[in-house]
């Protein structure tokens, strides 16, 4: 297939590399000649002089421009082509669909994968492996072109999921944009506070670290996402505030029953999330081990576990400091597996705390 990639940053170049690996012919263009040159240097695209030049002979065009430029770029590609199928990779879908103005050749797309990096040098053909790839065909879309984009996304290792564009934007507001907003707020609220000379940030435990891992994510990308999806984000934030007020009221009246039901509901929801990832989350056991910060510890542990054929679901080693060492957290499926892993680690001189991931 003759493919054209418009915008050769991280995402566009990753698509180009994956398509080339499949034997497709890939032309490319970027508004920044330097970015285009760097993508060409990675042998991801044949560089072209202009957008029109890049799409002239394309059967399939992937528009990988930043959110703020995306509607204009998609409209330009549709205007410059007569028969090509056109898709995009933007994090929001309503605005780009409006720009496509009912063209049967356009199918909106959004692969769910990290947006924290930029530049063609960070691109990877396997970026989309295992990811959900939303597609937003509508009543105007030619079904054959929807199938083509679906097949393309699947060929890159992703799982295509069709969804209405507005529904997509409300869904990602909840699953991605609001979590980013809250992470920023928690980081800023904790960062601004001083409690009688103590900086709360200096005493952050694992919970605060988890909540703020995505705080401060690339403002060049995120400010445009927030603005483009402002209505859906505001609606979700209002609902979030309403739920906080309920909890505040329960705290004020000392309502243990409400709080217990509410924590129980959260536990159920977390379990449903884990259900998607693990065959049997109710069986999952967590092992926590304090390990010294010295070379060979990681390899020693993983080799021993591998030799005993203990199947690790999750494996996390968080460095604390050379003086204090770090914490290793393992998730294994089932108590037997957990006991074998704990015995093995204890025989290496570590002491291990085991617990169920989901409270029984």
């Amino acid at each position: 297939m003759r493919i054209s990639v418009i915008g050769t940053g991280l995402m566009g170049t990753s698509v180009a590399l994956a398509a080339r690996a499949h034997g497709d012919d890939v032309a490319g263009w970027d508004v920044d000649p330097d970015v285009l040159e760097r993508a060409a240097a990675r042998d991801a695209v044949d560089p072209r002089e202009s957008l029109e030049d890049a799409v002239r002979e394309a059967e399939f065009v992937v528009v990988a421009a930043p959110i703020a430029q995306l509607p204009t770029a998609v409209a330009a590609v549709l205007a410059a082509t007569t028969d090509a199928t056109v898709t995009d990779l933007g994090s929001t879908k309503a605005s780009v669909l409006r720009a496509a103005d009912g063209s049967p050749r356009f199918v909106g797309g959004h692969p769910i994968c990290g947006s924290e990096t930029r530049g063609p040098e960070h691109a990877s053909a396997s970026l989309f492996a295992g990811a959900t790839w939303f597609l937003t065909p509508d009543a105007h879309t030619d079904p054959a072109r929807h199938r083509l984009v679906h097949t393309f996304a699947a060929a890159l290792g992703a799982t295509p999921v069709a969804i209405d564009a507005d529904a997509h934007d409300r869904l990602v507001a909840m699953t991605s944009h609001v979590p980013h907003v809250l992470a920023n707020i928690v980081a800023n609220q904790t960062g601004a506070a001083r409690v009688e000379g103590h900086e709360p940030l200096a005493h952050a435990g694992g919970s605060l670290r988890d909540m703020t891992r995505i705080a401060g994510a690339n403002p060049r990308i995120w400010v445009d996402i927030y603005l483009d999806n402002a209505d859906a984000i505001r609606t979700a934030l209002q609902e979030h505030r309403r739920r906080i007020e309920q909890v505040e009221a329960a705290l004020e009246r000392g309502d243990a029953g409400f709080l217990a039901r509410w924590v129980g509901e959260a536990s159920q929801n977390r379990r449903r999330m884990l259900d998607r990832e693990y065959p049997d989350p109710g069986e999952l056991q967590r092992l926590r081990v304090h390990v010294p910060d010295r070379p060979g510890v990681l390899a020693g542990i993983t080799q021993a576990l591998g030799a005993e054929r203990i199947n690790i679901e999750d494996f996390e080693l968080h460095h604390v400091s050379p003086e204090r060492g770090g914490t290793l957290t393992l998730l294994v499926g089932g108590e037997d597996e957990a006991n074998r892993a704990a015995a093995l680690l204890e025989s290496q001189g570590y002491s291990v705390v085991v617990s169920a991931v989901i409270e029984p």
Copy 2:
């Protein structure tokens, strides 16, 4: 030293194991005879018949009761002893300090380590290694006893930090209790939503997973913590809502300048948090690798990195599924180290996405 541990669950038994490892003599009692028996079976304590029996000859008493029983237990221990130094391990400090009623022998304590497990079988002598251990001496406290508790916490591998009890409760409201509340709310809001037939939970990306990792944590422990620290939590939640309203207003008026400054502030705060953990967070590079779910992958990668003496700061492997594989995320210090690690992994057939942890 003759130590007594009142409450032989996870925390109390961990203290007992660590104290015994130091050569201390440890008696113990628990309101639940079964829990006491299990702690004794681990050789952590000499079991006694009653609280009074357990503390009679103690020089040092550690009260490790759940939050709701803590004030009563501390008052009982102080009444049953005349010269022993008494401390506790509770997550909140104002209520227990009130129960101690100005006793010079009492020094409140709170080691910051996981509360997600229960039972003496999960106890570990190294539970406190590397943890912050808050101590809350006040104007009534005998300084020699404060020093004794300080030395004890340090001997268990923790870092003692003295703080006013009310300040402590406001601080942990921000660093721990509010993150737990928000995780529950995000899990419940996302779990309750349906967007035109789609379940947002089913499409959770990494950001939602990070935000809800602590959702649904043990209601038997957490409901009492929320209620005991209700005022400080409510104050912090009100401030959180106020900050959300600011963001909503900025979204409504399309204020890109506000949003950019706000994300930038979050980035600075995250950097300050990382400053505590890493020698030079500005240098940290993140490598992301998609790996298949098959035995030996983990050991193969850690061995190769170890052999090349690449110093790993963080190492995370999150399992997605046997079909889709998982994502390995590495943090290494510096671009050189990142390039060497990427080259090594690429030579093993993986493709690697590299990015700076903190945007330059």
